[in-house]
Structures are given as structure tokens and as C-alpha cells.
Amino acid sequence: MFDDSSLIVGLEIGTSKVCAVVGERNADGSLNIIGLGQARSRGVRKGEVVDTTQAEEDVRNAIVEAEQMADVEIRNVYLGVTGAHIRGFNNRGVHPVVSADREISEDDVQDVVKNAKAINLPTENNIVHAIRQHFFVDGQDGVTDPVGMLGARLEVDMHVVHGHTNRLQNAIRLVKGLQLEVDDVVFNGLASSLALLSNDQKELGALVMDIGGGTTDYVVYANGVIRHTGVLAIGGDHVSNDLAYGLKVPLSRAEKLKREYGSALVDEEIKGQTITIMNDLGLPLKTVNVEHLRRIMSLRLEEIFQLVAQDLEQAGLSDYLRAGVILCGGCARVPQIAPLAEKVMQMPVSLGQTNSVSGLKSALDQPEFVSAIGLVKFGSFKTRKREGKTSLAQGLKSTITSFWRRS
């Protein structure tokens, strides 16, 4: 059996599937994926649990499958969360350096970080992540580690991701009900970006879009730090629903049509083509126009990209994304989605590949597992950090620090 501390499990309760990924940390610190369990999700809409009984069953199935595959017993998980209630914003904390010699100490750094986190959130909201961006010493930009520097005024920019406490708790309670411990709660978009981006890409600036079943989570890196996060409660489910509505077929059939004939672009050559849907006996039931199918899909996906592009435009980040857009999530499987995204966003778009993790090739190559793998990666950073520290009393949130840069 493995030593418990080397085992890291990421659990994502998604809208279309529940997925548990088991990772193992080798002695040299590298990460190896050894197990994967998944189950079709039935109790989740738009990234949030709406039917606890069914969701619980699905989570149990996924965990059991992952346990069998990895031959381990899962006790702790890193839980991925998403939902329209999750928001991200940037905040700046200020702290005057009071010591006589004006040298910035570790305590000053902790104080300024604390100040940056003291923000006006609605009472029912809770901070999920508070991520350090850059320090400013006397207005000097771009300082990553100010300890030991001289200065009178220390400032820090933080990116704070927060969400509705009760809605976050719903997922946590569900997992705890299965006798699993939740090590930490991680925003899915953040997890995906961890799994996909290399340091170079973070430095150049990149947008990671995880277009899942119920939500589109996106994270923007610029100059090596997270600058923007967001959730759009639209995903593959909406595509299927649009098709079901537009083509007047049941949702399950629409889902199937989407997978078999879907594409993000409407090609010239498919105009006029039709698909005949057969019933169980092989008799023709209905004919569907392929052009309509693609048109409906294309419009919906185009809108997702437009909305995200608008949001980035508002945040003033469109010009920072020199590494372009990286797509993952189930919708990244849609053929020709990258050209469509390129057309809308006017920048290079690529499909994400999980790097810096080894192990099951079948799991690593699928875009829909990216965020679960990212959760494992998040866990590995965290445990590494924890080992480095002597005291655990810092609290969970404060541990997410400048290692984003070094990862």
C-alpha cells in the first residue's frame, strides 16, 4: 500500500460526469496519475448540485472505480467547484513598513497580504482562493519577493476568487457524507489552467477556457500571474438543449446527434444533407437537416466565445494574451472548435494538452479530464508547500502563494 501522504485525489463533480483522478507523488516530487474513475452525472445542473441523492451515488461510483483502478483506498480529496456564483476580482493591499531600518520582514509581507484579503464581500460569500500577484515596494512594480528589500510602503495585488458559501458547502457536504475528507476546495478553471499551462505560457499571457457540460470556466494569466477568472453558466448542456429544441428531438437524441454529427462551423458541403434517425426497430423516424444542426451549435458556441471575449475586453486584458487561448473541457472535442474560437477571439487558439504529469495516457489525452488532473496538481503543490513549512497554523488559504510563478 502507498503511503497516504503521497496520494492525491482530485474529485470533480461535473454537470455531465463525475470524475475522480488518483495521483501519486514520486520521491523526486514528480506526479504520476495511477487511477481514474468516472460516472455519468445526473444530479448536477450548471455545475451545481441540484439532486443530492443522485449526485452522491454518482460520486460514490466514480470513487469506487478510481479506487479499483489505482488499487488504493481514497480518504481525502481535492474538490473542484464551479457555478455561476463564483467570481474573481483583483484587490490591492497596502501596509506601511514601520521598522526602524525600513527593511521589509516576513511579518510585513503577511500583514500586507492580510490587508489585501480584507475585502468587502457580501456576508453570504466566502473566499475560495486568494492568489498573490505582484508586490510593489514604494510604488516599484513587479517585485515577487520583497523580504529583505528596503522600503517605506509595501503593497500587494491579490486576485480573490469568491463564491456563495452555502452553494459551495452543498458540494462539500455531499462529499463528506461519503466519509471522505475534503482537503481543499479549488475552482475548476484554476485547476484546468494549472494542468495545461507551462511557465512560458503564463509569462506570455494566456486564456484557459474549460468549456464543460454546464459551465464555462475561464482563467487569464498575464505576466506570470492570474489576472482574471470567471464562470459563464453555459456549456455543452446548452448546446444539446438548443439542438433538442431546434430539431425537435428528445434531449438524449440531441446529445447523440451532437457527438456524431456536430461541428462548430457550418461547412459549405454539408448544405442540404440530412440524417435519418432510426427507431429501435431500424425504421426511419425523422430526418434532420445537418446544416440546421451545425448552425444551432455554431451559434451557441460562438456566443460563448463572444461573451468571454467581451468580459476580457472589459477587464482590459485582450492585449495581454500573447500565448493565445487554450481550450479544454468536453466541448473542446467538438470538431473545428478552434477555428471558430480563432474567428471570434482574433487570436491563436489551441486545444490543451496536460503536461508535466505522467501516467495513464488514456486519461491525460482527454480534454474533459483536464480539470480533475489539475486538481491533483493543485494538491501536489499544496503538499509540497506544506512539507516545506513547519507550521500548519497558517490556515489553508494562505498557502496558495507565489508558487504559481514557480510551478
Binding site: 450548471k46 455561476a84 444551432i296
Partner: protein
């Protein structure tokens, strides 16, 4: 089809300006008149009309209705007194309207003078042979029930005689003000909005039109619709101005963030631009507006005003249709048969209100659902009965029917994109 017969009268020579008189009634009306009395309205005759002293007004013609009955104390907020004194001085009023082709009656309803005199004045103007258009405000809800009722009955009376009434409920301006706006500023704002709408109509009538709106069109739009009109005017410059005005229009607080457009029964759109106004822009704006209010009867006009330079200004007057009210007698007496009337009213306008009916429902089922919904309301009876607001188009959201809707800038993103964008699948 009046709307679609532009017959591009591209002539840019000035239109023959009709003789216009703008009459401010009551203290609110007189205040607004002062706002109006500027260079923009050169050529219009201004008349201030009140029961109180008019010394502060800048209008060239002042008529103070005075009688022993009032003992110099004004109407005391009683429209009946206002009405009585106006009847008494009917000849004076008629005289004042003499010679005008169009009379604009500007008033704040709710008080004695505004609500009492305006209808009588409108009648006098009609008898003098002018077209009458009312521009009135309704009081804030916090001003009390009595003023509301007075205003409502004044409005009904005015509507029954005037050719058209554009009515701005002050309550709407709550969308535009914040916690710190002073009372003075708020009233200035409401007055300003009404003045803006008057200016819009004025421009329609007097500026050379590429596609002209006739006064008849305007009157047809605002006449006999026993409902409120809302009004919005937006401006934009730059290359993307056509798109920008639409965005501003949809975000306009007075239009309930675009909801008013969607619910409108009829609307008038007036585009104004400098000399560089292009047909493509006109087309783009109209196309977008048309998409947002599919059921509305749209009257459009486009005109060139050189003073606008490179700005594009769009003015819309939206009338919310309220067919039930039309079927009911205007005041009171809605007793025994109100329920059936509502049912009739609702089913009768299914075609016009609900864009694409739910695919799964047969007409009978729909009728049943709608009557049930209306029934609950109708049982209360009495003259205070209000029209139940139905959801707009019945588009099933399928899988997302019961989940929290994803609303982004007033758009429900759960509804298929192609439906919202109006892409036709043939």
C-alpha cells in the same frame, strides 16, 4: 402599411412647419415650459396657464385663470375646481389656441390645475381646430393615493379628448436616480425627460425628413391606447455608432432594460444624424430594433440635422399595449363580466403577444392555462383591476426549465442562441 411606405422623400428643403403652440398647464407645466423656451423651439408659441400667479414664467403669453370662487388661492389641489374654472373661462382658452395647427399640452398630472384644466384645454384646442398632443407626468407613488387617482382620472379624461398623450410616470425615474439625488434634481430630471420627448416630437415635425414621419402617424400611435408610453432618447458617435445606440437603447433604464421594447405594442423610432447619416446605419438600427420588438407596429422616420455633426441620435416612443383596459369601460363599472372579458382579452391577443407558442401545447390547453392565470386576478373585480403580466413568448427551456436562469445583460442565455438572434431555420 404606413410604416413601410417611405417613398424616400430625399428632398432636404425645409418642411413647411406647422403652427405650433405649446401650453404649459399648472405649476409643473409652467416650469417645463420654461425649460422648453429656448432657441430649439423657435417658431412655436408659448402659453403659460395657471391658477396661481405667473410672474416667474418666461412665456410670452400668460393666462391666469382667476375667479372669485378661488379667492386667489389656486385650485387647492382639487381637479374639480380646476375643471370648473376652466369651463368657466372656456372662451379664453379657445381663444388662446386659435390659429395653431398643433397644440402641445404640457402638464404634471395629480394636482388641481394639471389634472383639472388640461382636459378642458384639450377640448378647447380641438374646437379651435388644432391637433392636440399631451405631454404629461404622473406623480410619484409616494405622493399619495389621492394624487394618483386624480392623475389617473385626469389622464383618462385627457386621452378621451386629445389626439394623443405621451405620459411619463415619475416612478420610472427611480431607475435613473441614486440615493443622493435631491428632490429638486429629481423633478428637474423628470421635467427634462418630458422636455426631451417634446423636443423629439418637435424635431420630427420640423426637421427635413429623409423618411418623414407624419403627425398623423404619431397621433395614431399614441391615441386610444389606454396605457402608458415610455420614451427614450440616446446618442452615439464614432464608427460603431449604429451598434452603440442600440446597446444604449436596450440598456436604457426607462425602457426597463429593453423589456419595454419587447412588450411594446407600437413604437415610433426617429433617427437623427448629421449629413453623414447613411442608409446602412438607418437600416442596421431599424433591423435591431425590429428584432427586439417583433410584435410592435413600428413607425420610423429618419432626418438630417446638421447641428448634430457626426452624432447619431435615436428617439423612441414606446407604447405598451393594454388591450384589456381598452375593452373595459374607462372608469369604474367593471363588475360582473370582468372575468370573461379578461379571458377574451387574453386569448384574443395570443397571436400578437406570444411570439412562438410552446410547441407542446394545443391551443385549447394554452387557452385554459391563460384563463386560469387571469382568473385569479380577475376575481378581485372592481375598477382597480390590473392587467396580469404574462411571460413574453412561451419558449420552453427544456433541461434548464427549473434551474436558476443564466441572465446576462438582460438576456436569458438558456434560450437557444439562434432563437434569441432571430436566425431562421428553414
Amino acid at each position: 402599411m404606413k410604416t413601410n411606405s417611405p417613398t424616400p422623400e430625399a428632398s432636404l428643403e425645409p418642411v413647411q412647419v406647422p403652427a405650433v403652440k405649446i401650453i404649459g398647464v399648472g405649476s409643473a407645466g409652467v416650469t417645463m415650459l420654461d425649460l422648453l423656451n429656448s432657441a430649439d423651439f423657435a417658431g412655436a408659441g408659448f402659453v403659460a396657464l395657471n391658477t396661481d400667479a405667473l410672474a416667474g414664467s418666461s412665456a410670452p403669453v400668460k393666462i391666469q385663470l382667476e375667479t372669485k370662487l378661488l379667492r386667489g388661492l389656486g385650485t387647492g389641489g382639487d381637479p374639480e375646481r380646476g375643471g370648473a374654472i376652466a369651463e368657466e373661462q372656456f372662451a379664453t382658452l379657445k381663444n388662446a389656441c386659435e390659429g395653431a395647427d398643433v397644440v402641445f399640452v404640457v402638464a404634471g398630472l395629480g394636482g388641481g390645475a394639471g389634472s383639472g384644466i388640461s382636459p378642458v384645454l384639450a377640448r378647447a384646442a380641438k374646437e379651435a381646430g388644432a391637433l392636440v398632443l399631451g405631454f404629461v407626468t404622473l406623480p410619484f407613488a409616494c405622493e399619495g393615493n389621492r394624487r394618483q387617482q386624480q392623475a389617473q382620472s385626469g389622464l383618462d379624461q385627457l386621452k378621451s379628448v386629445a389626439d394623443g398623450v405621451i405620459c411619463l410616470p415619475c416612478e420610472k425615474t427611480f431607475n435613473l436616480i441614486d440615493e443622493n439625488t435631491s428632490v429638486l434634481d429629481t423633478f428637474r430630471l423628470t421635467d427634462g425627460l418630458l422636455v426631451e420627448s417634446l423636443r423629439g416630437v418637435w424635431r420630427l415635425l420640423t426637421r427635413p425628413g429623409l423618411i418623414r414621419i407624419h403627425f398623423d402617424d404619431l397621433c395614431a400611435l399614441v391615441r386610444d391606447r389606454h396605457s402608458e408610453s415610455v420614451f427614450a432618447s440616446v446618442e452615439a458617435t464614432g464608427p460603431g455608432r449604429a451598434r452603440e445606440v442600440i446597446e444604449k437603447l436596450i440598456a436604457h433604464p426607462l425602457l426597463d432594460e429593453g423589456r419595454a421594447l419587447a412588450e411594446s405594442g407600437a413604437m415610433l423610432v426617429s433617427l437623427m444624424g448629421g449629413k453623414d447619416l447613411t442608409m446602412a446605419e438607418v437600416n442596421r438600427v431599424m433591423e435591431q430594433i425590429g428584432r427586439h420588438c417583433e410584435r410592435a407596429q413600428i413607425i420610423m422616420g429618419a432626418a438630417v440635422d446638421e447641428t448634430l455633426k457626426n452624432r447619431l441620435s435615436v428617439t423612441v416612443i414606446v407604447t405598451r399595449e393594454n388591450p384589456v383596459a381598452m375593452e373595459l369601460p374607462p372608469l369604474g363599472g367593471a363588475g360582473e363580466s370582468s372575468e370573461t372579458m379578461i379571458a377574451r382579452g387574453l386569448t384574443g391577443r395570443l397571436g400578437s403577444r406570444c411570439g412562438s407558442p410552446a410547441p407542446g401545447l394545443t391551443p385549447e390547453q394554452r387557452e385554459q392555462i391563460l384563463t386560469q392565470r387571469a382568473g385569479g386576478r380577475g376575481r378581485k373585480g372592481g375598477p382597480k383591476m390590473r392587467q396580469a403580466q404574462l411571460p413574453l413568448a412561451i419558449i420552453t427551456k427544456g433541461r434548464f426549465d427549473k434551474s436558476e436562469p443564466t441572465i446576462h445583460k438582460g438576456e436569458d442565455l438558456d434560450i437557444p442562441t439562434y432563437v434569441r438572434r432571430g436566425v431562421a431555420l428553414n
